[in-house]
């Protein structure tokens, strides 16, 4: 008894206290560092908003509500109204979405529903890879190759055709210089640019539909069209809307593909062939020359408007996508 107990009495207080593992003193510091890094993300986004609002404020103060309604953009007289770029941004983004959505949907359905097995992986991979090509390459191609061809083979014939009915709606929306640079050309380049991205996201969404669901619809004798419209699309509805809005967000904020080809005129675009500008293209082409305080404030104010529009679109897109896929 005493033999067994005697070693126990020799245990000192120091050894009885459980010593902390080596290096555990850094546990807190590591956690704080990780927390700080996560907060840096918040600070970055918050910082963008604060900086844009702070430096853009003078423009709203000087021009008031007319900053949104006037399309006078005159760096010589220092009078700025952003209606031209704001409307240009919305028009090009929506047109781009209008053009690319049916095509992106078609590509995604093709890949998921009835592509030959041999081609499924190569085309799917190609679409995903193309989504990563830098936008400046699309812009450059648009400027050097697409615009001249578009002017010669689309704009000129369409204008000649529309001239048969002077003053008609068709004549009005196709007026302007047929040089290949303008709202419509920019929208088409944007559509080509967001196409792989939208198609890849939609494809990923459609792949989340369980095989049983799709197969039971086929088992009932439904055609591919009926399966797509009544089963798979409703199944991924929320996510699909999210994917579309993510594409819209890209189109709204895209700079390089548009700057080359939209013509950079600040007036209100009068027709589809007319030169215009978007918020991003205006900032890209003028910000480094804007030395006058009110000039740069106006550009930053435009940036704030773009930030708020895209934030709203992206926030909705993320909320809708989150339930289905982390794209």
């Amino acid at each position: 008894m005493t033999d067994i107990a005697s070693p126990a009495t020799e245990i000192t207080d120091a050894t009885r206290r459980r010593s902390s593992p080596k290096g555990s003193g850094f546990d807190h510091w590591f956690q704080y560092a990780c927390f700080a890094a996560a907060t840096a993300v918040l600070a970055a986004l918050g910082g963008v908003l604060v900086v844009l609002a702070f430096y853009g404020w003078p423009a709203f103060q000087t021009f008031g509500f007319s900053f949104f309604t006037s399309s006078t953009w005159d760096p010589v007289k220092n009078i700025y109204g952003g209606a031209g770029p704001i409307v240009g941004t919305l028009i090009t983004a929506f047109l781009a979405l209008l053009f690319s959505l049916p095509i992106a949907g078609g590509v995604a359905f093709f890949l998921v529903e009835f592509c030959p097995q041999v081609l499924r992986r190569p085309i799917g991979t190609a679409v995903e890879l193309l989504a990563g090509i830098p936008s400046i390459v699309y812009g450059m191609w648009g400027y050097l190759v697409f615009a001249p061809a578009f002017a010669a083979h689309v704009e000129a014939p369409v204008q000649a055709f529309a001239a048969n009915w002077p003053g008609s709606f068709l004549d009005n929306i196709t007026s302007g210089v047929p040089d290949g640079y303008g709202i419509l050309a920019a929208s088409i380049i944007l559509a080509i640019m967001i196409l792989p991205f939208t198609a890849a996201t939609l494809r990923e969404l459609l792949l989340t539909v369980p095989a049983q669901v799709r197969e039971s619809a086929y088992g009932l004798g439904a055609t591919t069209f009926e399966v797509v419209t009544t089963v798979t699309l409703p199944y991924v509805r929320r996510g699909a809307i999210g994917a579309v809005m993510l594409g819209l967000g890209r189109a709204l904020g895209e700079t390089m593909a548009v700057t080359f080809i939209i013509g950079n005129a600040h007036s209100f675009p009068k027709s589809l062939f007319d030169s215009g500008s978007t918020i991003a293209s205006t900032i890209a082409s003028e910000f480094s020359e804007a030395h006058d305080p009110i000039y740069s404030a106006s550009l930053i104010a435009l940036g704030l408007i773009l930030f708020l529009i895209t934030f709203a679109v992206l926030a909705m897109a993320r909320l809708m996508l989150r339930s289905q896929v982390r794209a």
Partner: protein, 280 residues
């Protein structure tokens, strides 16, 4: 019977139109994208030579300054982004749980992921160029690109860390290892290929970005290692040469080919890394 067979015919016809439409647009999309790649390879390949990598753009024969600038700026941006992105992703996966702050960060990170890059450029230009350094510099460009890479890395890091089983963490802690050592030596190590994939994708993204560099790095025509001064980058050189003389356009095509091949190569490597992880 007559009614139902005509319904069948209508359904078949509608389906045929739909299938034809899908086939057609896929073909159209592939042709359009192939046309872009074809012009790129044709025009870029024609003017691509060793000179592109060795001579400065002031000589009109090369893009060495732009390529060097891109490498320096992107490397520095990635160094910043890897540290912050991995730590932020670790916090979201290991410490945040389902708390409100974590949810907010996660959401804002997703928004930042697709925020217009030109606004990031304006933000950094106002902070660093206008108010701190007072002139454009390679550092400012690197910070702007880092802000674009951080959300990508944060996102992928969080996703792969969450894939690691809880038992892995528990077995480390049961041995008496401090949590931060468990995270570093067990969880991070087990997620290496996933984090690497995210880093490569982030690199592919920022190496082609032009808009955020326009007001931050500005551009320069000389081969320069000094990141405190304005610095050239490949996308910036392409941007300014595209609207220039025919010789400059040739250089722009070569630059566009170089950057596209680099981006595609990095993306493919990232996919291979991700693939191996799935199999192993």
């Amino acid at each position: 019977m007559a009614v139902s067979s005509s319904r069948v015919a209508t359904r078949r016809a509608v389906n045929a139109v739909f299938v034809a439409f899908c086939n057609l647009v896929t073909l159209l999309a592939i042709i359009a994208l192939a046309a872009i790649l074809f012009t790129l390879v044709k025009n870029g390949g024609g003017s691509l030579g060793l000179d592109i990598f060795t001579k400065a753009s002031t000589t009109g024969e090369g893009l060495a300054d732009a390529i060097l600038g891109s490498i320096l700026i992107c490397t520095m941006a990635m160094a910043i982004a890897l540290i912050i992105g991995i730590m932020a992703g670790t916090w979201l996966a290991e410490y945040a749980g389902d708390g409100r702050y974590g949810t907010v960060i996660r959401f804002l990170n997703d928004v930042l992921l697709s925020a217009p890059s030109i606004l990031i450029g304006v933000f950094v230009a106002q902070m660093l160029v206008a108010n701190t350094i007072h002139h454009p510099s390679g550092y400012a460009g690197a910070v702007a690109l880092a802000l674009l890479a951080i959300p990508v890395i944060t996102r992928t890091t969080e996703d792969v860390l969450r894939l690691q089983p809880i038992s892995l963490r528990e077995s480390g802690i049961a041995l008496g290892t401090p949590l931060w050592t468990v995270i570093r030596t067990i969880i991070w190590r087990a997620s290496t290929s996933g984090i690497l994939t995210g880093a490569l994708l982030a690199f592919a993204r920022i190496s082609g970005e032009t808009a955020p560099l326009m007001f931050t790095a500005l551009g320069n025509n000389f081969v320069s290692w000094d990141m405190y001064q304005p610095m050239s980058a490949l996308p910036l050189a392409i941007f300014s040469f595209t609207t220039g003389s025919p010789d400059e356009v040739k250089l722009a095509w070569a630059g566009a080919l170089v950057i596209s091949v680099a981006v595609l190569a990095v993306t493919i490597i990232a996919r291979v890394v991700a693939q191996e992880k799935k199999q192993g």
